[in-house]
Symmetry: C2
């Protein structure tokens, strides 16, 4: 089955939009999704941004909120911004990285995004992370410990460097097996069609 | 008939994509399009950019070219980047402003965009501007003179200030009669549906 990579960042609102629908669409197209959590922070920093571009460029930031609000209304998705934005997504991304290797990343990621942008929950709240782990069938205790493990920290750094080397500059980003890159929730259908097209 | 404003910039590739299809879609939706040429330069400058964001952020710039290439292929539109980018769109925008008042902006704009991004022609080439004026049924002589007229210059400045006051930060942007703003060629269908929805 054709594989399509889904690169996402827990602090990204548009990644929320995609996470909630990608498996449904992938199954329709006959694609297999590889869940690739990474951090946008280091990538933004490399291009001179020390905060979310939505805060650096307020007009765009205001527009974005309205854009997501309208899309969520269309899709019947709840939308509530967390009090602090962007959120510290480090631990969430590290846990999702374990999940991606053990096959529970989709449920963990959807649950966490639904809490973050559907209910306004904080990603640094360990109870929230624990709930998402439990929803994915995992025991939180040992996993929350591992989020501080230097080996795992390094793996997330490596994954983020890989994103940067691929030319990724935002999230969500989709990469097909032949190396085509698609950026944004609004390119998801196009990416899946491309990734599953007969040669 | 419901009116939808189409704010566009001749140096913007995504504005090209929209210009070539907006009247067809508007007629399907039952919307009337108001063609609003403006300049992104002063708006970008106000947020600290002195060049195209595609040049300031090279990874995004490279992606954008590929994105437009793919969309043009899907839509059967020719695509050829002009040698210099972004182009100086001042005269083109001033002429389109006259066209918008006299109702020949759509043909002039489409012709000019097709030359610019379909054939790689230069917007500062007066022969190119003259051809687009003729295609729109206009005599170029006097109009090309008027492009330097201080009153017209001021009108374009005012139109650009209006764009900025509306919160516009990129092109194309669509604004419906109830004040909703939509940014990007990929939001055109949504804007037209919103703008023509029964109250």
């Amino acid at each position: 089955m054709a594989k399509v990579q889904f690169w996402y960042e827990f602090a990204s609102i548009y990644s929320y939009l995609t996470a909630m629908r990608i498996e449904r669409l992938a199954s329709f197209h006959g694609a297999q999704i590889e869940w690739k959590p990474f951090l946008l922070g280091p990538i933004f920093a490399a291009q001179g941004w020390d905060d979310s571009p939505f805060k650096i460029y307020p007009a765009k930031g205001r527009y974005t909120l309205r854009d997501v609000e309208r899309i969520c209304a269309d899709r019947g998705l709840p939308f509530k911004m967390p009090e602090s934005f962007p959120q510290r997504s480090l631990e969430a991304a590290r846990l999702a990285l374990i999940g991606a290797e053990e096959d529970w990343a989709p449920v963990f990621t959807r649950t966490l995004f639904a809490k973050e942008f559907g209910e306004g929950a904080s990603l640094t709240d360990r109870a929230v992370l624990a709930d998402a782990l439990r929803a994915a069938g995992q025991e939180p205790g040992e996993l929350l410990q591992r989020a501080g493990d230097p080996v795992l920290k390094q793996r997330l750094r490596t994954q983020t460097e890989e994103a940067q080397a691929l030319g990724i500059f935002g999230a969500p980003t989709f990469i097909t097996e032949d190396g085509e890159m698609f950026w944004g929730d609004d390119r998801l259908e196009q990416a899946l069609a491309w990734g599953t097209a007969p040669p």
